[in-house]
């Protein structure tokens, strides 16, 4: 299976609906400082169920909702959808495509969706259990953080090995 598409709306600086389609190989994301590249990474982490606002550079979860700009009003909701393709084999599902979505509202209320149907985060985690998706300790490397594994204490490094086991 592979990640076909990422749709972002209302998440951080993505005030307008943005769609990225990924190739089988290498996709490079470029642009000036502050334009939103790392926010794309945050969107992926968040959609996969990140619980810590701090891991997304914020203070609380509502910080991920677009909070306005000189020319735009804040939005009331953030939504990110990831669509996977060629899922039959690894997910054992009847579906060729599977999409995961996550939404959050200003009041803190939020929901997860699997193929557009509301579900619990747990349902998503169980479905993707052996695929390696959602195991972000070694598949999502944040800016400036790659050396952390070398400077962290020996006990703290286990997490990345345990995820792989």
């Amino acid at each position: 299976m592979y990640l076909r598409r990422l749709e972002i709306l209302g998440f951080k600086s993505f005030a307008q609906k943005t769609e990225l389609n990924f190739p089988h190989g290498v996709a490079a994301v470029v642009g000036p400082n502050g334009c939103g590249k790392s926010n794309v990474l945050d969107a992926i982490r968040w959609c996969l169920g990140e619980q810590s606002a701090k891991a997304l550079r914020g203070g609380e979860m509502a910080d991920v909702i677009f909070n306005g700009a000189d020319t735009r009003q804040p939005l009331g909701m953030a939504e990110v959808t990831m669509t996977f393709t060629d899922c039959e084999e690894q997910l054992g599902t009847a579906y060729h495509e599977v999409s995961i979505s996550r939404r959050v509202y200003r009041d803190g209320r939020g929901e997860y969706l699997l193929n557009r149907t509301v579900c619990r985060l747990r349902d998503i985690q169980e479905l993707f259990m052996d695929t390696g998706i959602g195991r972000s300790a070694y598949s999502i490397m944040e800016q400036g953080k790659i050396d952390l594994i070398l400077s962290s204490r020996p006990e703290d490094r286990r997490a990345i090995f345990e995820e792989a086991a």
Partner: protein, 165 residues
């Protein structure tokens, strides 16, 4: 479970030795369980010696050497448990040109099993990409996807219908 962890650890360890020697063009590295009697709880030590240099604590390594060591460990884990996709945010920032070239060469071995989404400012990494996404903020504070250029290399999911504005 104890066997699962120890077996995974051992496989990652062997891969790490191989990956390190390749990324550094020599030298030696290893992973050690701090307490072999207690593999499920103990810490993990990282040993690394660049070619021609004496073995010392990894903390004394340079910024670029630390990044390359972390990359070797990362790929060592991917060899055991590949992730369908992998997001790397400015991982090349501390690397000089020759290390970026080595990194990209190793990356090639993994593109058949995983997609890579790399956020970068570096021309060489950009040149390697199969698809390029440019993000800007023409409207201050609002991210906009402005260009997707399909390289002639790679599948890139089909022809010229990728341009977005």
């Amino acid at each position: 479970t104890r066997e699962l962890f120890t077996e995974t650890f051992e496989r990652v360890r062997v891969n790490f030795q191989e990956m390190y020697a390749e990324l550094f063009g020599g030298g030696r590295a290893n992973l050690l369980l701090v307490n072999e009697e207690d593999p499920l709880e103990c810490g993990i030590d990282i040993i690394a010696r660049p070619p021609g240099k004496q073995l010392q604590s990894v903390t004394l390594l340079s910024g670029g050497e630390k990044t390359m060591t972390a990359v070797a460990l990362l790929f060592a884990i991917y060899m055991v448990k590949p992730s369908p996709f992998c997001v790397l945010d400015e991982m090349d920032a501390p690397l000089d040109e020759s290390n970026i070239a080595r990194f990209l060469k190793i990356l090639d071995r993994f593109v058949s099993q995983s997609q890579f989404i790399v956020i970068t400012h570096n021309k060489r990494t950009i040149a390697r990409a199969d698809v390029l996404y440019g993000i800007t903020m023409e409207e201050a504070g609002v991210s906009k996807l402005v260009a997707v250029r399909l390289e002639k290399r790679g599948q890139g999911d089909g022809g010229g219908t990728r341009l977005r504005g």
